[in-house]
Symmetry: C2
Subunit: 377 residues, 2 copies
């Protein structure tokens, strides 16, 4: 069977990007490398929809999240955390490590955090320095209403910091228009690259807070050190320079497609997938589903983890299981990045076949026909 990757990160990478990674390694302080970093930073601005600098870090996305915490908050300062899943909990872990005074607005897994709850929390806590939120809660498939959060936070002195690691590019996210102060993304999701790079945009409002924060205990993730190098198209520390040159190619592909078309393609794939899942008699887990991935509730009587293993073994399709308590309870099917509707159609076909074999009652073709219907509409 052909192996096919449908996990919500890492995601498939275009061949030309992969081949770039096989080229001989070059020195990282050259005009050529600086031009590549410049292009990447400019194209990231386009993808982020921001006029602010986008900083390139050599780290996982979590490193970018750490930068959004350690640069902003002095120990004991107040932060509001919006959490309804594992990635909200990742923010909590980072915030606790840096000694934040936490106000937690928590909702059950599968639901989204209502903007009204943020409004109330901010009113009760006018000394809040920053709000931490998640664009695509990949553990549940929920998309949060960052635009609404932005409207609420912008009226206060607090910063809005968003983890858009697995959403940016796959769903609409307008950093400046939505008034996101620090937006953190990563290479290995919709940006069509292997893991290893994190991206952080920083607004003027955020720079003011960062520059007045004298309590920073950070060196590698000290954003001021990166800012000082941006004008020279350089980095303060040796970057993963081959990854930067490869990211350049995947970003060029996004530029060529156009960001609105990218969003529309993901919206179409997500909508068609949701229609297929419903037509197969399955249920969606997310109350407010996003366009980066579809999260499916494992039906009663079916062993969720065993089904995924059979799907991969027999048909080559690699989906992701639920994490932590949700293991075996949900299936996570990514449709972001280097992925088109026909790729997803194949995954749904393989899922149908696997479910039929496991005795789940299903009209063969129900899912793929519903998918096709949405494509044709």
């Amino acid at each position: 069977m052909k192996p096919r990757l449908f996990t919500p990160g890492p995601t498939p990478v275009p061949e030309e990007t992969l081949l770039e990674l096989a080229k001989p390694v070059t020195y990282h302080r050259t005009a050529e490398q600086k031009a590549a970093l410049n292009e990447v930073m400019e194209d990231l601005k386009y993808v982020f929809q921001t006029k602010n600098p986008v900083i390139v870090l050599t780290s996982s996305g979590t490193g970018g999240m750490e930068a959004a915490v350690s640069n902003v908050l002095a120990p004991g300062q107040k932060a509001i955390l919006l959490t309804a899943g594992r990635w909200g909990e990742r923010w909590r872990g980072v915030l606790k490590a840096f000694g934040a005074n936490l106000v937690i607005v928590e909702q059950p897994y599968g639901s989204a955090v209502d903007p009204q709850l943020l409004k109330e929390a901010l009113e009760k806590n006018p000394d809040t320095v920053a709000v931490y939120a998640t664009l695509s809660e990949t553990s549940t498939g929920v998309g949060h209403d960052i635009e609404a959060y932005g409207k609420i936070v912008a009226g206060t002195k607090a910063l809005l910091c968003v983890d858009s690691i697995s959403g940016l590019g796959a769903m609409v996210c307008k950093t400046d228009e939505w008034q996101i102060d620090i937006n953190v993304s990563g290479s290995q999701k919709a940006l069509m690259m292997p893991p290893g790079l994190a991206y952080v945009s920083v607004s003027d409002k955020a720079w003011k807070v960062i520059e007045s924060n004298t309590a920073t205990r950070s060196f590698y993730f000290d954003l001021k050190r990166y800012k000082a190098k941006i004008a020279e198209n350089d980095t303060p520390f040796t970057p993963a320079n081959t990854l930067i040159k490869a990211q350049r190619l995947s970003l060029k592909r996004i530029r060529a497609e156009g960001i609105e078309n990218l969003w529309a393609r993901h919206a179409k794939m997500a909508e068609a997938t949701r229609a297929a899942i419903t037509a197969m008699g399955l249920k969606l887990f997310a109350q407010r589903p996003n366009n980066a991935l579809t999260v499916i509730v494992v039906p009663e009587g079916i062993d969720g983890s065993a089904t995924l293993k059979a799907l991969e073994k027999q048909y080559g399709y690699k989906l992701a299981d639920g994490q932590d308590n949700l293991k075996g309870q949900i299936w996570r099917l990514s449709h972001m990045g280097w992925c088109d509707p026909f790729d997803v159609l194949g995954a749904l076909s393989a899922l149908e076949l696997t479910l039929l074999k496991s005795g789940f009652k299903l009209e063969p073709g129900a899912g793929v026909a519903a998918f096709q219907k949405k494509l044709a509409s």
Copy 2:
């Protein structure tokens, strides 16, 4: 002209390792990926010459240095810094960012820090928590006597933390025998990989300090989080999984050569290069030269930076200039990693030709003949 990389990081990468990077991306939580990480961690133990775990971080080497500081020292605790170059200064930057109470043992660029000075500093400062040193001071070409430092520090309660980023593999470094508590290295030097991964070994003595340190303000570089995942051959955060799979191949190559042969090959290349440089009437910059690179003093009347540019433009050889105040004053020629004597011979030939063109008095062939003589001996 064929481009040829002789910078002291990044260094050339074997073709089979590069080709691994062009393979389709896979999920990072699979049995296959765990087996790859396990092999990398085991082979790193061999390269480090340690029985202790070697932690794999997705970051530059500086991220590993930050881990060696932020996990060990609470703000205000005492650290001795041994510095005689830019990379000693990198330790200083990290230590200052984390609020260390610094005792600085400083020597001029080009010299090594005498172990006797460390002995005296430790005697005067019995409350020292850790000593920070550099194996290969790549800014000057100096190799430090880490073995001697280890003997001194082992008799105290302090930890010995070493930046071996650009030395490990190219020069003898026996982590356990030399009693190095935290040893930090990176992928892009003698380990024949692009940049993007840092490696950190931790002794039992160091774990005790780390585990009793409640002041840690770190999340991404919190070594305890990595330690908790080692038994499962996993990482706490999404790693640069394609780099790990590629590092596996370069480490296999080191295993096949054998660490003693690797050290001997680098020693031979370094010795022959030093002989060639001297025979060309040039001077070495390092008082205690190491085997990872040779640093050459730019002779009077020659424009150092212009010569390097001409060398690259005409013959394709990319050497490194001096950094900061040493720019134009020295040339840095790396002979580490995926590099054999015949590669270096070519670089010396090109350097001779370039110097001759710039009017430097030199008997053509003096350098390459001296190099060959050492090879034959």
